[in-house]
Symmetry: D2
Subunit: 338 residues, 4 copies
């Protein structure tokens, strides 16, 4: 941490900062500049509160030097984390993983139809929500337990791993009984009780980025899970909120190569939520594969027009098969497999 | 809802849209323009899914005409909702309510000291977190039950109402036993299980705006609570995430007069979180009062430098007393009291 | 500037950074931490390119310590700059200045009517565009020279100072002949040729904030003008672009007290463009006055419905008079005059 | 345009809206709903001001049905516009065009070295700024005329087309004498005098997206140029301003497929400015090619550390050659050439 003092900071104020640093068992290092004095803190700054430093009289600002997360950092673990998903596949390796399925589980027939279709097209996992977080209280909220049963049946029938959302701490045990991967949604990215709960169970966790979460906040959310003992966290970029109007969210693809530099966790992209528009899903899938994503999360519905939710961003099984075919070519072009 | 068809949309496609509208027991109304055909939907469009309409072939976009919330709307209830807070005071009336206290309850002594100070300065309620949502898993997480006990004791000692955060569904009963108002934090604004849980209990709910929540999404979150039978929801603007760097968040004060136009619920402002900088709290408090806020939520700490969290945005009891004095003058200038 | 080296940076890389710093006649100061080495630069860092430092191998990031502007800084000039506007009035002092008028000059009659009305209500200056920057090429582009003549006539008739926009370098001489204050619009905030041109002439400049300009970028734009010898720059907050939908732009009022801390230049607020909605103009004017603005820039039109542009955000002369009356009361409550 | 009336709008108010529509030689179409009355306007709504409609008493909001641009629209011209660039190459066709070179022309030697290197690697055009828009008035501002001479010399030596920025109306003739393509920078995207000036000369124009420009505003800026008679406009996505901190701007790649749906103009991507970080340029180039970009604009510098500006985002000629090689493979995978 670098503490920048205000222009007229007194000797006492500077010494007081140094004293506080020493109380934290760290070493202050004074640099008297022409216009400002700066106190550099030597030692592990992570437990030091930037806000505390900034509330000391005479301090202008405190600039962190280190990233605030530790277990999620590539400096802690240099090898990419590979996460087993279903049979014969690990996410985070050379092969790109496709996770596909309907936004919500609507019926047994719908789910099985999609499951067989995406399996045939090349998916390794089936997504589908049994519990749905809905902005509007009057909207369809999911089939709940019944949906979980259908997901388990679809896994039996196809061999696909099952990825489904868990919306609260209490659902963790129930959902964990059915799912292979527990998804934490964007709106729950900072639901810390939920993060701790999925961190204490053994299944991998797919952690969606919050709508307005900075990358460091996202990795700190992952750190909550890792710190409870679960090493298997999949990061999923799903678009952030900006002023853009041509899409529902702005898919921020540069996080993919950025994350590859700072963390060992696998990174996937959800172009369905990330754009909110079916016509853009294929292009954004190709872009995600080209820039290094380890997987894609795509909404597929046999009859998007009749989908109970998110129809506008779901592709048909036929469109999905074409998308997979094209992604495979791009994957090869960047020395990956799919 | 207005459904805009694509330029070359076929007669069949247009008829298909009309058919779908009729299936929903609504009336389609065709307008054939020079470049586009438009299908206007007559009837209550709220249960109609915009996404569903946008996934019908030939449809370019669907434009909602009505706001998606109903119980929160001023069209449903024309009188402002007034919410009793402690003794002799109702939030949402002519008198502006000050809710003040430390970010987190740190000790019995700290809390009582602040409680007496803010009471004397003119506050009607005491805020203080017993459970704290923290971005960083290695940070202080709150005193939990012990903190709740201290809050109750401070109420006894001062007569202030107690406002404290509830972070998950399971905490609702416990927190409800101690608090007069249950706060739902920004990061939980779309934690729907929590919203439903606070909607099923009798205490008023202070609902903070999410970091990237559109106003309609915020009112839909309030609708979740209202729909469970709890009519007492206080909306709290606490800053949104934008590109600005001079503050932690951007306090979007224009929501105050906007909300007064669209909802009957009281609106308060949190300039402490909304700026993240103690030096700006007083000015933003004055601005909030001037533009019609029904109350303020302010962090006060006897020794901000030693605060376990959010020291940089806490004001001292002395600074708070000055702030109240100034706000009182502005309140009178806009024909309110404080 | 603080240069943070990457974890494994070699001795040679660190020495190379130090060498580059010495070449710039500054002093490097090495701090060897537990996880990172940091090179602090002692001396005036302003001419040092952060980007250059960040492109040296082994460097992780460079953190500036000083603000990048100098003449605009309160450290350079401690007294507030007061800018004479018309007769007997200086912007930036105790008295708050009202600048009001139509978005664009539409006709002689319209302008004179508004001028008399706003004068009577208490305005010190008349705004009105002769040249209009329009997003849409098919929209009305202003009366040009004819509009300038009408503005001059209105000044004669009322004694109001004239504020009007200059859109390009070539217009500076012409507009300077008629106007008392030259306005640089938000879309031109980084039109550097224009900034230099208005910096080389003697009339005060009203510099609107760019739609997505950080505060430092805005102050650097002011610095362009100051550096050419013109000391009279008025900063005008007019809303920034964010995800918000209830207003056209987001009025970021916390910049008012923030600017008061970092610059000596006067700060005014434009609630008309800043919200885009007439119903919100009064509330946001009151808020601006309450938080310390030195003036307001408000669109007034006798018949907003017939305004050639920006009718939705213009208030009538009657509404303006009411607004002034209310602002005056709030001004007194914060020990200002109006 | 769809005009939504307020809940209690009177018959007179509704009739008044209809009357205004008729005055504009358009046809009003009333739809009386259960909660609102809606007036649909039949005819070409483009000249109709949404703001004017929204300032009529009783009107809640006006929703445009048509895109505001016309000549830029794919409905006006169904074939993609192909723009000849140098010898044997047209941008907007099957072959992807690489435009590369230093941020600014620093010296004859530097420019020639880069020109030969990028030519060899496969570029079709050379970029390089002779005039530089700089946020900071104390920064290097470009070599001006001398820089243009070097660019012309580099064209002679290599056969590359020359792309360079024009910053103001007065520079258009001068720059047009040397350049093959005139670039309008992001900060000038709404400098309407400049847009008109480049629209009246014959060379193609590369129009960068403004930092906070909505897609419609960007296309309206293109329309300004097209409306003056110049049909050759290249759209260049270069990142927008959001809350993201891991990059300088947020590259919004979904605009590429979106623009392909709405306009016939070619679209290129600038991953150098779009990320501000050299390490991310290759990945984002691959993504841009994968999602359908017609070209890339990339900063290349032989010695980024010594670059007078933007060193942190420039790649070396060797890195550029590797990038081209990889992009070529991805281009083939999406049935394009490079």
């Amino acid at each position: 941490m670098i503490v920048v003092m205000k222009p007229g900071a007194s000797k006492q104020q500077i010494e007081h900062v140094a004293e506080r640093v020493r109380q934290m068992k760290l070493t202050p290092h004074l640099i008297v500049g022409t216009e400002r004095t700066v106190v550099a803190i030597v030692g592990d700054e992570r437990p030091v509160s930037r806000e505390m430093l900034e509330s000391i009289p005479g301090v202008e600002k405190a600039l962190p030097v280190l990233a605030p997360y530790k277990m999620a950092s590539i400096e802690t673990r240099h090898e990419p984390t590979q996460i087993p998903l279903g049979v014969d596949f690990a996410l985070g390796g050379r092969r790109i993983g496709l996770i596909a399925g309907p936004c919500s589980v609507e019926s047994r027939a719908q789910l099985l139809e999609v499951a067989h279709a995406v399996k045939e097209a090349g998916a390794v996992a089936l997504r589908g929500g049994a519990f749905k977080p809905r902005t509007n209280p009057y909207s369809f909220q999911g089939l709940a337990d019944e949906g979980l049963e259908y997901l388990a049946e679809a896994r039996e029938a196809t061999g696909l791993a099952v990825v489904t959302e868990v919306m609260s701490q209490e659902q963790v045990v129930l959902v964990g009984r059915y799912a292979d991967v527990l998804q934490v949604g964007a709106r729950n990215m900072q639901n810390y009780d939920l993060l701790r709960a999925v961190g204490r169970q053994p299944k991998p966790v797919l952690l969606k980025r919050g709508l307005a979460a900075a990358v460091d906040e996202w990795l700190l959310a992952a750190e909550y899970i890792l710190a409870q003992g679960n090493p298997n966290v999949i990061l999923c970029e799903r678009g952030v909120r900006t002023f853009e109007q041509h899409t529902r969210f702005t898919l921020s693809l540069s996080v993919v190569p950025h994350l590859k530099e700072v963390t060992h966790l696998p990174v996937i992209v959800d172009p369905s939520h990330g754009t909110g528009r079916r016509e853009l899903v294929e292009s954004m899938s190709l872009a995600a594969v080209a820039c290094g994503a380890d997987g894609l999360l795509i909404e597929v519905h046999p009859d998007p027009e009749s989908a109970l939710l998110d129809g506008a961003q779901s592709v048909t099984p036929e469109a999905f098969a074409r998308l997979v075919h094209k992604c495979r070519r791009v994957a090869q072009a960047v020395d990956r497999e799919l």
